[in-house]
C-alpha cells in the first residue's frame, strides 16, 4: 500500500485550478490559428484573432482567460494501491478554495440553487471518482463556465431513432445554443448508458485533445460528419457568422439498455479549460 498525504492533493488541485484558468491548451491555440486560415468573413477572422490574442494576454498577465472561472469539475482516478492520509473530498475543496483565492478568480458558486447565496470561495467542486490499477492518483481539473454549460442537454431517445436521431438532437442543441456558449465551441457527446452516464460521458468527451481522431473508425467518421454539419450552421466565431462554429466534436459511448438510447451534449466554450496531474509516491 502506498500512502499519499492529503496536503499533496490540495497543492496539486490549487496549481491545476490556476494553470487551467490562465493557460488554454496548445491544441486549442493551434485550432484557433488554423480556423482563421479557413474563414473569409472579416468579422469571423477578427474574432479568432481576438481569441488568440486573449490567450496570449492571459498567459502574459497571469489573468484568467475568461472572467467566468467556472464551477470546478474535478476528475479523480484513484490507484487501487494508494491510501490517502486524510479526507480526499476536503483536500480537493481546499485546493479549489486556495486556487481561486490565490489566482484572483471569480467565485461563481451559490450554496443553494434557489436562495442563491454565494459560497464565497468557489466550493464545493463537482468531483467524479473512478478507480484504476496501480499506485498513483490522476487528477484533472476542469473549470466549467456556465455560458456553455447552460446550453447543454440530455435526451432519452428511442432505439429506433438510431444514429440519425442522435445526430439530429446534437445539431438541434448546437443550433439552439447559437452565440451563447462562446463559439467556436467544442461539442462533447455521450451516447449510451443511463441518463447520468450519458451526461458524464459528454463531459469527459470534452477532455480529449482537439484534433485527435476517435480510435473507432465508425465513431471517427461520425465525428467528422458531425463537425461538418455543425460548421455548416453558420453560427461562426462569437456567433457573428462564419464556418467555424465548432473546433471539434468528440463522442464517447457506453453499452445501454435494450429499451433506450440516451444522448447527452455537453458544450465547451472556445477555451474548454482543463489540466491534469499524476501524483505518484515519488513526485
Amino acid at each position: 500500500m502506498r500512502i499519499i498525504e492529503e496536503a499533496r492533493i490540495t497543492d496539486a488541485v490549487e496549481k491545476l485550478c490556476i494553470e487551467a484558468n490562465i493557460c488554454i491548451g496548445h491544441d486549442i491555440k493551434e485550432a484557433l490559428i488554423k480556423a482563421k486560415t479557413c474563414e473569409s468573413l472579416p468579422l469571423a477572422r477578427s474574432v479568432l484573432d481576438t481569441l488568440s490574442e486573449n490567450a496570449e494576454i492571459a498567459q502574459r498577465e497571469k489573468l484568467p482567460v475568461c472572467q467566468d472561472t467556472g464551477m470546478t469539475v474535478v476528475f479523480v482516478s484513484l490507484g487501487t494501491k494508494v491510501h490517502i492520509n486524510g479526507n480526499i473530498n476536503d483536500a480537493i475543496n481546499e485546493g479549489v478554495r486556495r486556487g481561486y483565492k490565490n489566482g484572483y478568480f471569480r467565485n461563481s458558486v451559490v450554496g443553494d440553487p434557489i436562495t442563491r447565496k454565494n459560497t464565497g470561495d468557489n466550493t464545493p467542486a463537482v468531483i467524479h471518482y473512478d478507480f484504476a490499477e496501480g499506485d498513483s492518483i490522476k487528477i484533472t481539473v476542469m473549470p466549467k463556465g456556465f455560458g456553455s454549460e447552460n446550453m447543454s442537454a440530455v435526451k432519452m431517445l428511442s432505439p429506433s431513432d438510431g444514429l440519425s436521431g442522435a445526430e439530429s438532437f446534437i445539431i438541434e442543441t448546437v443550433l439552439k445554443a447559437g452565440a451563447n456558449p462562446c463559439p467556436p465551441i467544442i461539442v462533447g457527446v455521450g451516447i449510451g448508458g443511463t441518463m447520468e452516464k450519458a451526461a458524464l460521458l459528454s463531459k469527459q468527451a470534452l477532455l480529449r485533445d482537439v484534433g485527435s481522431v476517435n480510435s473507432e473508425p465508425f465513431w471517427a467518421e461520425f465525428e467528422a460528419r458531425l463537425l461538418e454539419k455543425i460548421n455548416a450552421l453558420g453560427i461562426g466565431p462569437a456567433g457573428y457568422g462564419g464556418i467555424t462554429t465548432a473546433l471539434a466534436a468528440h463522442v464517447l459511448t457506453y453499452p445501454t439498455h435494450i429499451a433506450g438510447l440516451p444522448v447527452a451534449v455537453n458544450i465547451g466554450c472556445h477555451a474548454t479549460r482543463h489540466k491534469t496531474k499524476q501524483l505518484t509516491i515519488d513526485n
Binding site: 468579422l43 477578427s46 474574432v47 481576438t50 481569441l51 490574442e53 486573449n54 494576454i57 492571459a58 498577465e61 497571469k62 489573468l63 484568467p64 482567460v65 475568461c66 472572467q67 467566468d68 472561472t69 484572483y104 478568480f105 471569480r106 467565485n107 461563481s108 442563491r116 454565494n118 464565497g120 455560458g147 447552460n150 447559437g178 452565440a179 451563447n180 462562446c182 463559439p183 450552421l233 453558420g234 453560427i235 461562426g236 462569437a238 456567433g239 457573428y240 457568422g241 466554450c269 472556445h270 477555451a271
Partner: protein, 177 residues
Amino acid sequence: MPTKITMPFTAEIISCLKVGEEILLSGEIFTARDAAHKRMVEMLDANVMLPFELDGQVVYYAGPCPAPPGKVIGSIGPTTSARMDVYTPRLIKEGLKIMIGKGERSPAVISAIREYKGLYLAAVSGAGALLSLCVKRAELIAFEDLGTEAVYKLEVHNMPLVVAVDSRGNNIYGLRG
C-alpha cells in the same frame, strides 16, 4: 478599421451605427448582470431611486474577476445577455440606451431597442483578459453585497465591440443563413 467612439452617445452617433460594424468605445459604462437587474427592477417597482441615473447610460453585462495586485480589474468579458431579456424592456423604457453583452436578444428587447432608438453591442465572448486591459478605472457604485454582481462604474478606453442590434432593429444573429 473600427470606428473610435467617445461617450456620450448622441442620437446622431446611435443612428449612424449599423449592424456588424466594429467600434472602439471610450468613456464611462456601468456593469450590471442577473442579480443587479433583478434588484433594479424591484427598486423601480417600489419607486426607489436607482444607484445611478439610467437615462442615456450604457450597461455592460459583466461580473469581473477580482483585481490582482497592481491591476485595475480582473478579467471582464461579457455574460449571456438573454438572461437579462426579462428585465431589459423595462430598463429601456426608463432611459437605458445601450447594452453590451453577448448572444441573441428576445424579440421584445429588439423591438424596445428599435422603439427607443438604442443599441445592443457585443463584446467578444470569452476574451475577458483582453477586455480587462481596456478598463482604466473601476469604482464600486452599488449593491456591494452582490460581490461580482455588484454595479461598478468603469472608465474604458478603446473597448472593442460589434454592433449586434442597431437602432433600426437589425440583428447580427439573425443574418446568418
